[in-house]
C-alpha cells in the first residue's frame, strides 16, 4: 500500500535540519490530510523535518494534550498547533514558551499571547457566506435545517453560529427548524438528515457543516429519491463525493477553506519563527464559495481536494 507516510521518518532533533512538530485537531479526515500535504510541501521547500498527528476525534481534548506533551518532549525547533481547547493547552504552551520553542497556531485561534502567529480560516464569516448563498437559492423564504459535525468544537460552533446568526439578522423569512449533530459521520448524518426531512416535509434547505455532514445530507437526498432542486443543499469543505454531488446538481455548492494553504503557511511561519523573523499576528488563509459553475476555475481547483 501507499501508506500515509509522514514527511520524515527520523524526526529526532539533533541533526542539522530543524524539526517542527505539528499537532492538529484531526488526522484521519481528508481535510487534515490536505493540511498535512500543504505542510509537507512547505517542509520540502524550506528544508525542515516535520511530524503531523492529531487525535481520533475532535472531542478528544485529552488525547491532543498528550500528543502536544510528547511533541514538546522531543525538543522540536518549533511547534504547529491547532487547539481543540486553547485554555486546556495553557500549561503546555507556557512550557513551550519557557523552553524557547515558538508555537504557530493554525486552523483556529488560540486564546493566548504565546503563539507567534495564527494561520486560519474565519469560520464564522465562511458559514455566513453559506447562509447567504442558501437564502438566495431558496428565495429568502422557507424552512431550513443544519446538520453540524459537533456542538462543542470551535469549528462546529462557529460554522453553526455563523450560519444561524446570518439568517437571524438578514433573512426574516427563513426559519431554522432543526439543528442536529452527526459527529461528521456520513451514515449517521444521512440517517439524521432523513429524520429531519421526514419531520419537515416542506423543508427548503439543509446545510452540512463539514465534509462528512454534507455528504451525509446528500446521501439522504439520494435515498429518499428527492429530485434535484427540491431541496437545496449547501456544504462545507470538499472531497470527491461532495464535488461529484455539486457537479450532479444534488448540491448547490459548498464553502471550501484552503487546507493546503493552512498547512503550508503554518510551516512557513514556523521556519520564519525559528529564524527569528517578525510575523503578523494572524494569517488569513481565506475561503471560497464554489458551485458547479466555478468548480473548474484554477483558483478553486487548487484548493479542493478529492
Amino acid at each position: 500500500s501507499s501508506g500515509g507516510s509522514t514527511g520524515s521518518t527520523d524526526a529526532a532533533a539533533g541533526g542539522d535540519t530543524p524539526y517542527v512538530a505539528i499537532v492538529s485537531k484531526g488526522f484521519q479526515h481528508q481535510f487534515w490530510q490536505a493540511v498535512k500535504q500543504g505542510a509537507e510541501q512547505a517542509a520540502d521547500e524550506f528544508g525542515v523535518e516535520i511530524t503531523f498527528e492529531g487525535p481520533d476525534t475532535e472531542a478528544d481534548v485529552d488525547q491532543q494534550i498528550q500528543m502536544l506533551q510528547t511533541a514538546l518532549d522531543k525538543q522540536p525547533a518549533a511547534v504547529g498547533f491547532a487547539a481543540l481547547d486553547s485554555q486546556a493547552a495553557g500549561p503546555l504552551l507556557q512550557q513551550a514558551q519557557d523552553a524557547g520553542i515558538p508555537v504557530v497556531a493554525f486552523d483556529s485561534g488560540v486564546d493566548s499571547d504565546i503563539p507567534v502567529t495564527t494561520a486560519a480560516t474565519d469560520n464564522k464569516a465562511a458559514a455566513a457566506e453559506a447562509a447567504k448563498q442558501m437564502a438566495e437559492a431558496i428565495g429568502g423564504e422557507g424552512k431550513v435545517a443544519l446538520v453540524v459535525h459537533d456542538q462543542t468544537s470551535v469549528t462546529g460552533v462557529d460554522r453553526r453560529d455563523g450560519f444561524v446568526e446570518y439568517m437571524e439578522e438578514n433573512e426574516p423569512g427563513i426559519e431554522i427548524v432543526d439543528i442536529q449533530y452527526g459527529g461528521g459521520d456520513q451514515a449517521k448524518s444521512a440517517d439524521l438528515a432523513k429524520a429531519i426531512i421526514a419531520a419537515n416535509p416542506d423543508l427548503k434547505g439543509i446545510y452540512g457543516s463539514n465534509e462528512g455532514s454534507a455528504i451525509g445530507v446528500v446521501q439522504a437526498v439520494k435515498e429518499l429519491g428527492l429530485q434535484p432542486g427540491q431541496l437545496t443543499v449547501v456544504g462545507f469543505d470538499s472531497g470527491k463525493a461532495q464535488i461529484d454531488a455539486i457537479k450532479d446538481g444534488l448540491m448547490l455548492g459548498a464553502i471550501t477553506q484552503n487546507p493546503v494553504g493552512i498547512g503550508y503557511e503554518t510551516v512557513k511561519a514556523a521556519v520564519a519563527a525559528i529564524d527569528g523573523e517578525e510575523l503578523p499576528k494572524s494569517i488569513d488563509t481565506g475561503y471560497f464559495w464554489y458551485t458547479a459553475d466555478n468548480i473548474d476555475d484554477p483558483e478553486i481547483a487548487a484548493v479542493l481536494y478529492e
Binding site: S1, S2, G3, G4, F27, Q28, H29, Q30, Q33, D56, Q151, V177, D178, Q180, Y181, D185, Q186, A187, A190, D191, L192, K194, A195, I196, A198, A199, N200, P201, I215, Q219, K222, E223, L224, G225, G239, K240, A241, E306
Partner: protein, 336 residues
Amino acid sequence: MTLTTETPTPKPAEARPNAARGALRGSLQQLLAFASLIVIVIFFSIASPHFFTTANIISIFTAATVTGTLALGTTFVIITGGIDLSIGTGMILCGVMAGVFLTYWGWPLWAGVLGAVLFGALIGVVNGFNVAVLKIPPFIATLGMMLIAAGLALVISGTKPIYFKETPDFQSIMNLSIIPGVRFPLGVAVFIVLIVLSALLLSKTIVGRYTFSIGSNEAATALSGVNVVKWKIIIYTISGLFVGIAGVLSASRLSSAQPTGGMGLELEAIAAVVIGGTSLQGGKGSIVGTVIGALIMAVLTNGLRIISVPQEWQSVAVGLVILIAVYLDMLRRRSA
C-alpha cells in the same frame, strides 16, 4: 415426575404438553420483548405524524441494516460466552478491501464483493484462532484486532476514501430500489435474508447447537468429544462473514470506502444483542431477540430526531429507555 422402577413405561403423552408449553412460553417472551418495541413505536406515532410513514419506516430499516448485520453475526459469538469488539473497525477494513479489489485491482463486481466478504471471514478466522488456539481472552483478542483493523484500514487506503469508479453498480447493492414506487432498498432485503439465514443457522444446525453448548458449559462440551477449538474458530468466522457483508453494505451505501470510523459501532451492536435478551454469560440468546434489539435502537434514534428532541437529551433518553426496557424484561422473566 419421579423414577419408577416398577413401571418402566414413561408417559410420552405427559411429556409433550410440557415441551409445547415451554415453546409457547419462549415465544411469549419474545412477543413481550416485541411489545416494548411496539410501545415505543406507538409513542412516536402519536407524538409525530411524520413517524409512521412508509418512507420513514424504510429509513429506520435502512439505518438498522449495517448495525443489525453486525449484531446478527456477533450474536453467535456472544452466545458462546465470547465477545467481538473488532466488528466495527473490521467492517471499515472490509469496506476498504472492497475498494482495493474493485477500484485499485479492477476485479469484477462479484469477485470484489466476494473478496471483501471473505476478507471479513479471514478476520474472523484470526480472531477465532487467537481465542480458541492461543487462548487469549476474547475481549483482548478482539480488542487487539479492533486496533489493528482500524490502523490497517488507514494504511491500506492511504487515509483516503476509495471511490468505486470502476464499478458504479457497486452502490446498487445497498441502494437499488427493488419495489417500484416505495424505494425499498435492496440492502434492507439483504438484511432480511440474513436474519432468516442466521436464525436457521442458530436454531436448526449443528453450528447453532454447539454455539449454545459451548456457551453453556465449554468444558463439558469438550469432554463430550466436541472439537471445541474447531467450532469456536468456525463461530468467530461466521461473525467475520457478517462483518464482511456489513462492510460491503456500508461502503455501498456511501458509494465509497471510508477508511475511518467504526469505533463505537461494536458497542451499539453488542447492545442490540443484549437488549434482545442474549446473555453475555453465554448459553442463552436468539436471533429474533437481536433483531428486536437492533430495531429498538434504530427506532429510538430515529423517533427522537423526528420529534426534535435536542441532541444532548437524546442520549439521555436512549440510555433511560435501554435501562427500562431491559429491567422490564428481567421482571417478566423472573415472574415467568
